[in-house]
Subunit: 498 residues, 2 copies
């Protein structure tokens, strides 16, 4: 056996352990009965320790070193070596007991969050969050990071990103989005938006049928994946040939489920489009959360929230919900693009969405770089919601309990959503240059061209390139906020007649 084969064998083993952890995590969010929580946390902690042990094993370190030369002439192998090095360099700094305990803590916290969110009971979740926060700080300390703790976390979710990148980006966005929001809410169009009738019901079974049709038309292969329900929609490329996403249902609002499905299908198409030839290696994995989010936001917003889209799916909507009023594509699209400060990030329009992210970013900065305590979190959140959105949060389930991320110990994750929005707009511009007018294309009802474009430029590249290089290769320019600002100003000026 060659050194490369021996190295890849061990990489495959780590990927299998990762898939098992992913699968048991997916099951916990979708199916697990509540009394299964302790055993699930036990085995996830055990698996984390098992993975850690294999990662830090000297033998694996030696194998990793032994393939470096060969990787210089093989860019695919180089991507895998680069990623394994990054992961191993971190892992060797963490004691196994810490890794295992952190996994157990995260697993238990997610169950506690589900219950706390359902009951809108922040104090029930607070001790878990407290532990996660202090373990996260301890983790950064163990990693020997120099500089601000929060930078270390940001880098973890989007390699190379720091507050020095995000602060000006968010400032630029805020400078444009806040006035745009004001112009929209003061516009006369905003006073006369169409709406679905009060009290209309959209049965879950019909929502499932409608949304599966949309997902299938986007290109999701249901023979290689599933759609299920969970408290917080998510997507997971669990195994080669088995990618799963979830949604949730509100019988009074069919848009909530539809756009969750389009969003998660966007993620899932990335997973289904990853190159088979590099299964179970980093080369064959998605490169980053920011890029992942560009895929979900592209389908959700740039395809899904257009009049062209509604001209195709409007008839399907009326098939699924024969009792719903017959609104035309323009009206449905206006409803789908209603700009309004709201409580829930995942249901936010594109103008306010990034303000939700900024709010979380500012709070996380205060958690790690300031003095914000967990006990103060609800009040700080609610004060910011009042100041930024003019909304009074009366229940924490509509406030600081709404997102799953902190219960996963994922601090520093949120800003990747905004990166995804920026990347998506830049991809849309480049795609239009190649494929022609996107509205015409979407209206045609065959959406395979954008998927094929994304597949060759993003999906199949896996982790070959780091995010900025990948975006530049795909679009011809390094990532900036310019395309997003053009997109959002143009789209909403047209929609609201500004």
């Amino acid at each position: 056996m060659t050194a490369v084969q021996a190295f890849l064998d061990r990489v495959h083993d780590l990927a299998r352990l990762g898939s098992i952890q992913g699968h048991l995590g997916w099951d916990r969010e979708t199916l697990m009965p509540r009394k299964g929580a302790a055993a699930r946390s036990d085995v996830l902690a055990w698996l984390a320790a098992e993975s850690h042990r294999r990662m830090v094993a000297e033998e694996f370190g030696t194998l990793l070193e032994s393939v470096r030369d060969e990787a210089q002439h093989d860019p695919d192998l180089a991507a895998t070596v680069r990623e394994m090095t990054r992961r191993r360099d971190r892992a060797v700094l963490l004691p196994e007991a810490f890794v295992s305990e952190f996994a157990r803590t995260r697993s238990l916290a997610q169950g506690a969050w589900q219950d706390a969110r359902a009951a809108s009971d922040f104090p029930a979740f607070a001790p878990h969050l407290e532990t996660l926060l202090s373990m996260t700080k301890e983790r950064v300390r163990l990693l020997g990071h120099e500089g601000p703790t929060y930078d270390a976390l940001l880098d973890e979710y989007e390699i190379g990103s720091t507050m020095a990148d995000y602060d000006p980006m968010f400032a630029e966005l805020k400078a444009h989005l806040v006035p745009l929001l004001a112009r929209i809410t003061e516009s006369s169009a905003a006073q006369h938006l169409p709406a679905l009738p009060e009290g209309a019901r959209f049965p879950v079974a019909d929502q499932i049928a409608f949304c599966e049709r949309v997902s299938r038309t986007m290109g999701f292969d249901f023979e290689a994946g599933r759609m299920d329900a969970s408290a917080h929609p998510f997507s997971a490329g669990l195994w080669p040939g088995d990618t799963r996403f979830t949604t949730r249902f509100d019988e009074t609002d069919p848009f909530s489920c539809l756009y969750a499905v389009m969003h998660e299908t966007g993620h899932a198409l990335y997973e289904q489009g990853l190159p088979d030839a590099f299964q179970r290696t980093p080369r064959g994995e998605a490169i980053s959360l920011g890029v992942h989010e560009s895929q979900s936001r592209f389908w959700e917003n740039q395809i899904g929230r257009t009049e062209a889209f509604w001209s195709v799916v409007g008839p399907w909507f009326r098939d699924a919900f024969p009792d719903a009023p017959a609104l035309d594509a323009a009206a449905m699209n206006l409803i789908a693009n209603k700009v309004e400060p709201g409580f829930i990030r995942v249901e936010a329009d594109e103008v306010t969405y990034n303000l939700h992210i900024m709010l979380r970013y500012e709070i996380e900065k205060q958690m790690f770089e300031g003095n914000l305590t967990i006990a103060e979190l609800p009040q700080v959140w609610n004060t910011m919601m009042e100041e930024w959105f003019g909304l009074e949060v009366k229940e924490d389930r509509l406030g600081c309990l709404q997102d799953i991320h902190w219960s996963m110990g994922a601090f520093g994750y949120f800003p990747t959503y905004t990166l995804g929005n920026l990347y998506a707009a830049q991809l849309l511009e480049a795609m239009s240059g190649d494929l022609g007018d996107m509205d015409t294309l979407v209206r045609g009802g065959d959406w395979s061209a954008p998927l094929t474009w994304l597949k060759s430029r993003i999906h199949e590249r896996g982790s070959l390139l780091l995010p900025p290089a990948l975006i530049e290769e795909a679009t011809g320019s390094p990532p900036t906020a310019a395309a997003f600002l053009r997109y959002i100003e143009g789209k909403y000026s047209r929609l609201y007649g500004l």
Copy 2:
């Protein structure tokens, strides 16, 4: 750390790996998209090799030896040591590559069986069965078993059982059941059985609600488990606090789902009743398939197929299916106990059920001790069905493709079902001695007394005693067919006025 702690740590690790395999197997049967089959088989093969490596590791062997003395004074530890010794003694005779390949073959065969059964396409499944058969023979050869191959397989599913035990048992049963069947089918009562009206529909959602109510009343804790759907109903105690069973639905026949649910709930109650104190060790596991089957058959038949049962659930049935005709408990019970030679084992009445088992037993004997080839299997099956049941099998999905077991490589498993029937009848007699008239008790609607009785005498004993000793301890007599024959003759003579 003491030697016992070190030993149990490794036992726990093996149990975790077993639970992971069980969970991924459960998911394959219930949820996995078809294109996930290759990766699932890959990881199950990998996990089998991983377990095998830990089981045969010299260090584990040394630990196992080091706790033998202590086990002499600790019956709980002794049960775990006894079981681990039995498993390890076998494992060390099998090469890791064989274990892994066998796991992969089984996993792929189960997918192939599902498709072949749906399409009634035996030739599509035959190559898989061929491989499983030859690998099973090879496995017995590797284990160095002396004597007939089939005895080695029988022993695997019920420790100590051989053809020398089963041949006379089946002969005794056949001598009673064949004449009983003839008396029943020739009786005038058999000509005038009530029936549900032709063409009546029982919607799946209503069947779910009705069956969950029955399962809950039996004592299944839905906070510590789930009910799902699969091609072949099964039950699996996946994790501490997480026991899952499945059923299947036929909208024209609500009895099919109901009795599958009662059967699988019986298994699941055993799993939920296992002692928490011995989690993740053999001491805390169910002792055998035969005993497991006694629990499922007890609830399905001895509780579920009684007039007393229908006097309780009849009103629930009418709640769930308001369009169904209002039949009284006696009529519903006659329908539920209709004796009739049929194609499908899991839907068979109690009189013909064991004939289905005998048919499989005879065929397996011919596979391992005679010259029966896989190609001849459908014809041999169909000829026996004609001779024994007077039925012509026109589709293999109603014949030799109906059961999942062979696709799991589980040859020698079927006879444990008959053992279960015998144990169940013996348990019922003993239970009646303790609790009084069972009909009165069941009619009262509170079924916690039989569950409590079974919990203390069977469930909580885990693997402390081998099956014959466990049954003798629970009932006061060693296991025989006598109680079953008394039960079946008495019940069906009454029902059919013989």
